[in-house]
């Protein structure tokens, strides 16, 4: 069967929450592959001995973090409306994962420089607590960071903006912008550890982390 149609690249923004938060990137890949096969959409397959739907993911999300701005590229071998892809995929994927938006890719994944995270601690924010968190995150923020060459002590304050510390539905919300440039990547779990070490009220408090947006180097433009 020879198709005249040149495979068309599709980018999708999708959310990851619930049980999906606790699966690894490898497991996500497997889940996506199976979902594509269930959808019976005309997905472009890698060629070779063991053909698989060809999927490219943006930066992996750490286990335990939810997100409403994950990105993934794939191709289709027939012209098919974006809405139809979104609708079909959402009917064959497990609850914790939703396609939000399908479109023709604009930027490249390596253009993603910053990510906004919201940390919600299951504790009522007194003014004192808010102040403590603010002051803990102002000035230099020195943390241990695991790198390929061992553990390094670095100050992440140039790689982090504090957007807000406030109340959210009776809980304490902290919004941070973290650098995700390949060389200066700050994982969302790093500030958590720092906060637990410096703000005693937060020790052993249940918390959630959610990736809200990913941005280009100007810290303003949403990645597309």
């Amino acid at each position: 069967m020879v198709s005249e149609f040149e495979p068309k690249k599709i980018r999708v923004r999708y959310s990851k929450s619930g049980s999906l938060m606790f699966i690894s990137h490898l497991d996500l890949n497997r889940t996506m592959t199976a979902s594509f096969l269930r959808s019976r959409l005309p997905i472009y397959y890698s060629q070779g001995f063991n053909p698989h739907p060809k999927i490219v993911f943006s930066q992996p999300l750490p286990v335990g973090v939810s997100s409403e701005c994950e990105y993934m590229d794939f191709s289709v071998t027939e012209d098919i409306p974006f809405e139809k892809i979104t609708e079909t995929m959402n009917s064959v994927m497990p609850q914790g994962i939703r396609f939000l938006d399908c479109y023709e890719p604009i930027g490249k994944f390596k253009d993603i420089m910053w990510a906004e995270y919201e940390y919600v601690f299951d504790i009522e924010p007194s003014e004192e607590l808010i102040e403590k968190i603010r002051s803990s995150l102002s000035g230099s923020v020195v943390v241990d960071k695991k790198t390929k060459s061992g553990v390094k002590t670095i100050d992440i304050s140039p790689l982090m903006d504090v957007l807000s510390v406030s109340e959210n539905d009776g809980k304490t919300s902290v919004r941070l912008l973290l650098c995700c440039d390949e060389l200066n990547f700050v994982g969302p779990n790093i500030p958590i550890k720092y906060l637990m070490d410096t703000v005693t009220e937060l020790v052993d408090i249940e918390y959630t982390i959610r990736r809200k947006r990913v941005l280009l180097s100007d810290k303003k433009t949403d990645f597309r």
Binding site: G18, S19, F22, T31, R38, Y45, V63, E206
Partner: protein, 617 residues
């Protein structure tokens, strides 16, 4: 209760506990009158791959009054968290503790999970011993291959389901639901359950022992309780219930693919093999049924790999029709087919080119024994020329690796037979260089040698297992016989095989040992990192149990065996006949060649290989 996220962040592979997979659904609690939780006494990755559990859960969930959830053993890191935070073991779907269900069903697949089962009961807040359970506790039921000798775990289980559970478990659920609505006590309910064919309620039977520890008498306490428990089967495999949905795990499991039975039982009857007998008479699904079920599952799951499972797939009567009908639609959809359990004598170039698993770089066979004499003793019915022919085909097809499964410690085994193992491996290497169209590179033979474990309902059920010392000595003997670097030699732990042998043919007295083992923190014995033989030795010492009585004792043919009250179809006189033939180095024909008189036809069955049932067309 839901496991807090803080705990999920701390444990390995939290995906084992969170649920939410494609296909996991749960009826609302108040929409049903009987709630069952299906427990698998091993971790998620193993349990999710079990076909039997999948079928039975589907049967229960299709009953309108019933729901069936799932639970697996936590890995020790999670167990520690549960114990520290006082969180009971809960089902995946509703996160309700095990003790809040009406029925808790265990699938017991192998002897080494007995301690895990007991541990799960405790973690789920259910009294471990059946006699300690109250009206508020669930009824604990169990089935699976190990239920064919239920005695070692009889003290922990209220009711065993013997045989294939498709119809049986629905009858149990209906009977239970009816009893519940009538307000029956636990005792009344169990008594009524005992009237269902295939049900064994240990508390309704008395055992007396002789002074030497053997059984003096075994029988029901009441007249209405059956003396003999007859195995249940699905007579017509085309009609039997089969799920057309399947949960698709997020994390990698042992069988992350579609597994589809082509039939049950085995026409061969190797004399050490229990599975062949447990699933007799041999029944097949038609190719059309298999294709229909495979398509439905492929559509539903999105898996791109299908394993056609059977004890001996090459004996499937319409294998060519089946593979052709499968490839017709799997090829365009880029779905690959696996055929495990291929016999050396059925390995052809045609099959190799068709099927994915056969296309992989390794060819796997199970000669089981090193000499023709011993292969005849165990009735393996495979000849050396078949093995070499298969190897040649594989070499010519571009393969360089061969994997061989053997067993050591088989009845009548001599050191000559062990020499034969090493010799066979060497000659398979030599064969590579004799093959003209061989691929480039060097060949490799991997030998995997298991220890023989005598099992109930086999011709060898009266035999002794070799002592631990002998097993180990033989393992090293074979190792020293291997001179070529092209042969890789693996052997199973003799200690594990010994524990398996003790429980495989155990009686009720062993429940004491399981309880003691549980006290010492033993569980997950199937995992090398947790198996502790020294601790088991302490267990037997402290409970006054002689392990050799169970593992290394030759049973008299007249002895009452703990599993004698179960009728699996194949009769004791058949097994005795087979045992005699074994000692005469004589083989027995397969069901395809003629009747060996196993008598499993007494159970009925359609579309079967049995010459005494309806003849195959």
């Amino acid at each position: 209760m839901k496991i807090p996220e803080s705990i999920l962040r701390k444990v390995e592979k939290p995906g084992r506990y969170t649920g939410g997979e494609w296909g996991r659904e749960c009826k609302p609690k108040d929409s049903v009158s009987t709630r069952v939780v299906f427990c698998f006494p091993d971790i998620y990755e193993i349990g999710m791959s079990n076909l039997g559990v999948r079928i039975l859960r589907d049967v229960l969930n299709k009953l309108d009054f019933c729901s069936c959830e799932a639970c697996f053993s936590p890995w020790p890191d999670m167990e520690e968290q549960l114990r520290t935070h006082n969180i009971p073991l809960c089902s995946i779907e509703s996160s309700d503790p095990l003790n809040e269900f009406d029925m808790v069903a265990f699938s017991i697949q192998y002897e080494l999970c007995y301690t895990t089962m007991v541990n799960m009961l405790e973690l789920g807040n259910i009294p471990i011993c059946a006699q300690d359970r109250t009206e508020n506790d669930p009824i604990v039921i169990a089935g699976g291959p190990c239920a064919f000798n239920p005695e070692p775990v009889a003290e922990f289980v209220d009711a065993f389901l013997i045989g294939e559970g498709e119809y049986e478990i629905a009858e149990v659920a209906e009977c239970f639901d009816d009893c519940k609505k009538r307000g029956c006590t636990r005792e009344q309910t169990l008594r009524e359950l005992s009237h269902i064919k295939g049900l064994y309620i240990p508390s309704l039977y008395d055992v007396e022992y002789n002074e030497d520890g053997t059984i003096k008498s075994f029988g029901p306490k009441y007249d209405d309780v059956p003396k003999t428990v007859v195995k249940r089967i699905v007579e017509d495999m085309d009609e039997g219930p089969y799920p057309e949905t399947q949960i698709v795990p997020f994390i990698d499991t042992v069988q992350g693919r579609i597994t589809l039975e082509t039939g049950r039982g085995c026409i061969r009857a190797c004399r050490f093999c229990q599975a062949a007998q447990l699933f007799r008479p041999v029944r097949e699904k038609s190719p059309d049924t298999i294709v229909k079920q495979a398509k439905a599952l492929a559509d539903y799951t999105g898996y791109d790999e299908i394993t056609l499972s059977s004890l001996s797939i090459s004996d499937y009567s319409k294998i060519r029709e089946l593979t052709d009908k499968m490839l017709e639609w799997t090829d365009p959809r880029k779905i690959s087919i696996n055929l495990p359990s291929l016999r050396a004598d059925s390995f052809t170039r045609e099959l190799m080119d068709k099927v994915y698993s056969v296309r992989s770089s390794t060819l796997t066979f199970a000669p089981e024994a090193g000499t023709q004499r011993l292969r005849d003793v165990i009735n393996k019915n495979i000849e050396e020329k078949d093995i070499f022919q298969a190897c040649r085909i594989a070499y010519e097809g571009g393969k360089r690796q061969v994997k061989l499964y053997f067993m050591e410690g088989l009845p009548t085994e001599t050191y000559e037979d062990l020499d034969g193992m090493a010799d066979l491996a060497q000659r398979i290497i030599d064969e590579f260089y004799k093959t003209e169209n061989r691929p480039k590179g060097t060949p490799q033979v991997t030998m995997s040698v298991a220890c023989f474990v005598p099992k109930p309902f086999t011709a060898f059920q009266w035999e002794a297992q070799d002592s631990l010392e002998t097993l180990k000595k033989k393992q090293l003997y074979v190792r020293d016989k291997i001179t070529s670097k092209k042969i890789i030699y693996h052997y199973h732990s003799a200690e594990v095989s010994r524990i398996e042998a003790i429980f495989a043919r155990g009686d009720r007295k062993l429940s004491k040992a399981i309880l003691k083992a549980h006290e010492k923190g033993i569980r997950l014995d199937g995992w090398t990192e947790y198996f502790d033989y020294d601790l088991w030795c302490e267990v037997f010492k402290e409970t006054g149990i002689d392990p050799d009585f169970y593992a290394c004792r030759v049973r008299d043919e007249n002895e009452i065996l703990p599993w004698d009250f179960i009728d699996i179809g194949s009769s004791k006189r058949y097994f005795l006949r087979e045992k005699k033939l074994a000692y005469m180095n004589k083989t027995t024909q397969s069901c395809a060649e003629g009747c060996a008189g196993c008598e499993a036809n007494s159970l009925g069955g359609k579309n079967t290989w049995c010459p005494n049932l309806n003849q195959k067309k």
